[in-house]
Symmetry: C5
Subunit: 256 residues, 5 copies
């Protein structure tokens, strides 16, 4: 079954991924400090924090991936600098990602962009190649561009999730709608495709973030791909531990 391809990243059907593609997507000066600019620190955090997977661009994987946590290689990417309609093209072949040890490839689609068609077509091709090579194809689906007003509305987030299903993604990474009830519509729209919340920028308090995680899990999602809320945290391993309790032990934010 399609879901089996996500097995390397699951524990009891749930998952906590560590995302670290912000160096390309946002730039080091926006998100990094002297500590987390170093990918070794992230790799170490992935291991110590008990993550079920780590997300790197190929260059970081080539130099810093140690094989101790399952690997997802992002195969497209862009910087935050260009001003036009968002588009992100393939920068890594599926073959190369697999040669680096990846058990999944990640691809970002900007739904609603004037360049949407190009990204849908690329993902369609990559999905087939990933499956031929026995790895999962995970779609980062972010509504953005000329056709998008509000990228966290119930309707648009569900549309993102559904697009993952229609195109044969093994999992989708989407933004949180803000409440569990509306997010559950996205999960239903995905119809079995694994749903991961995209962690987003660091929240003002840990509890605010854990509340989101709780809502996501209550909505039936598989888990989350978190970056800044962990590796920008004073104590990433402790924060990972708290998130883990919410995801896997069904704890409330207060208990976690």
């Amino acid at each position: 079954m399609a879901q089996d391809r996500m097995a390397p990243f699951l524990r009891g059907g749930k998952s906590m991924l560590l995302a670290y593609d912000q160096g390309l997507e946002h730039g080091p000066s926006k998100d990094f400090d002297e500590r987390n600019v170093d990918p070794s620190f992230i790799m170490e955090t992935a291991i110590k924090g008990g993550f079920n997977g780590v997300v790197f661009q190929k260059g970081v994987a080539e130099r810093f991936y140690t094989g101790k946590v399952p690997l997802i290689v992002k195969v497209n990417g862009k910087t935050s600098l260009p001003q036009g309609e968002p588009v992100s093209k393939q920068v890594c072949t599926v073959e190369h990602a697999v040669s680096l040890g990846a058990k999944a490839v990640g691809y970002t689609i900007y739904l609603g962009s004037a360049c949407e068609a190009e990204m849908l077509a690329d993902f369609g091709r990559i999905q087939e190649e990933a499956h031929r090579r026995g790895v999962a194809a995970i779609a980062w689906i972010y509504p953005r561009g000329e056709g998008v007003q509000n990228d966290t509305s119930k309707e648009i987030v569900a549309y993102a999730a559904r697009t993952g299903l229609e195109l044969g993604a093994d999992a989708v990474k989407i933004k949180y709608t803000g409440d569990s009830a509306s997010f559950s519509w996205a999960v239903k729209s995905a119809a079995g495709v694994r749903v991961f919340m995209s962690g987003g920028p660091k929240t003002s308090t840990d509890e605010a973030f854990l509340q989101q995680v709780r809502g996501v899990m209550d909505a039936g999602a598989t888990g989350l791909a978190v970056g800044r809320n962990v590796w920008q945290h004073r104590d990433p391993v402790m924060m990972a531990e708290r998130i883990r309790k919410v995801i896997f032990e069904n704890k409330s934010p207060e208990e976690a």
Copy 2:
């Protein structure tokens, strides 16, 4: 003969297909509810409703197609979000569609779009590959974009049908013109290519829809590809039964 490739979808030369690509084309929040958001419900409806074929994107086919009704895989697709001239690119190879059990591939052409040339070329390529692999190539032909004022006029609908013939489609799916007499010009323009009416949005009454089906069949068409008028219906199997009577038993809407 070219027509033979449509044989898996025909009963006595007529056909009733169940379309379910709206999750990608319109988004789940526009067309779906808690029941029909689930592709299992659609697959079940296709079987119970006695449909001659079911239309899925590859992702839905991979997870939910059971093989009990002949399969058409749409090989291109887009969301409703982008604002520019409509264009839909290939997201599934013909090879992959066939590997999923498809007996036909479907491809949407937006006739009159500034991107028309790209879609005509893609369909031309896909048609040849489909035929090489022994499956039918069905063209969804929707006039839309800068060059189109009225997409249901007799003239434009006939143009759509004719384009299917010229490019070697085995069947075309086109909009209804509103009356049987004008639709028969589209059927004549198709010159033997199987003509299917595109079901469109749910009509206010069942009779209104059955009336369209009657007009389509009277015009010499092969049948229809219906989605929302069945799976948004309170009782999809009953509605399918009524449509079937109009198509195959030559009943009037009142009799059906």
Copy 3:
């Protein structure tokens, strides 16, 4: 020699072709009636009218070509709907055209269009492939778009003819300039490439059309590709007969 590839379409070095790609280029409602919308009628007319070749898009050839008249398959095409600079892309491979029995492929170039470069490049590629497969490459060359004021001036028609020579076409199909003297400059510019007049819309009288044919032949052209002036005619076979007399028996319009 290059000219030999046109041999299947020649009788005594002259030729009369029946063109029927208007279903795609203009749409059925503009050019067709209940009779000529049916490609069987055209195929029959080609045979009874003694034509030296018939021009179809692949879809029409697949269903209606009977092999009794040499076949030219148009390998690109567009509708009349889009508003931008004219561009027509390849919709049929040369390989497929040949498999349908074609002895030549036809390709339309809109000279002067902002997309001219794309079409010149495509034709260049197709010409080489056609010759490798042993069939002729015929260029329909129509000046149109941003760079063209008057598409029937002596200068522009000669430019069209010459472009066919430069790119290695076996024959060119071009518009009539209006008089034999100026058209002979186009024939000279083609320097041995077979020149066919494009028939154009139905003239008000048969004589008006025959006059054009006479002028074309007097200018040294090979013949014409006629469509509407034959198959829109009340008596297509009779009209074909008259044209034939002008072309092959050197008759005047009055004699024919």
Copy 4:
């Protein structure tokens, strides 16, 4: 050495080429008359005039090239009709050019055009293929388009010449700057790449043209590719003879 690939076109390290691609680039009505519209006349002039090479598009080469003078096939081309930024795409494969007997391929780059990048990339690819097949790659480099004010300034002509060197051309064809001193900077910038002056439009007197040729040779160039100043001349063979004396016998325009 790279220069050896030009050996077929050299006599004592100098060269006089006959260019005849104006039928496509300018159109027959602009440059041709009843005599020179015929490629046979040009081929004959190339032989009688003692030219070291002749430049044709593939279509002209296919029909008129007799093998008696070394052949250069232009592998891209455009008409003068489109209004936008100049771009010329490949219309002939290197393989085909070689099969016609070409000892070199020619490719035009419009330096400074908004489409420059596309042409640089194409030439880069063609250069490698030409060398793999053992023939020379000659770059016609014409500054033109949005980034160019004056296409014959010392600076821009040297830039054109240098671009040929950087991209690995065996020879460049560039415009004359107007005086020998400034043109020698272009020759120096080419750093060993063979420099040919582009003949340009017919000058008012023969002496005016021969003066240019003298200046070009004095600047250290290899020779010129001349078209209109020869085949528009009342006596092309006599004019060729005069040019030859300037190039090969180091004569002054007056002596020649």
Copy 5:
């Protein structure tokens, strides 16, 4: 390890490269004089100056590379003439660069350009091919275009360096920020990818340039790729000697 691919260019982990692609990027009239317009002079300077590598476009390498200093071939390039968003396309295959003796290929990315996506994708492909062929892939990363205000700010230079890491470059060539402290953030962002300062235009005094080199080395960079500050210098070998002392002997500008 990835770094090993840079070994041919390193001495004690440090490096001084001689860049000479300005003939294409800026044009000969902007940067060259009668002496340095000749690539032989540059090759000689590279040898006598003890450089660890020399950077040529393929055409210069084909004619002037002698094999005595390790070679880097730039595989994309553009002129300074076009006015639009900066884009530089591949003009040399990796295979060809390697056949010329290159131990590394160089590729320029204009970060923030509207064409950024195209260049990121190209570099991603080239990086994989370079590594398959056993040579290094060096990214020239210059922020430029619609998305860039200040191309030497700490933030943007670090973003450039980081992009090199993310895409798997073996080394990056970036601009100097102006001071060592801020440049060290770029070095940290590169996380082990070799950082080279781009030499830039000739400084008013030698000391001003050596000061930059000192700052770059103090920031932890590998070295620099210098062009104009050496080969525009009255005494290039002496200037190279001074730079070498700063890089390899840890001298101050005054000592050097």
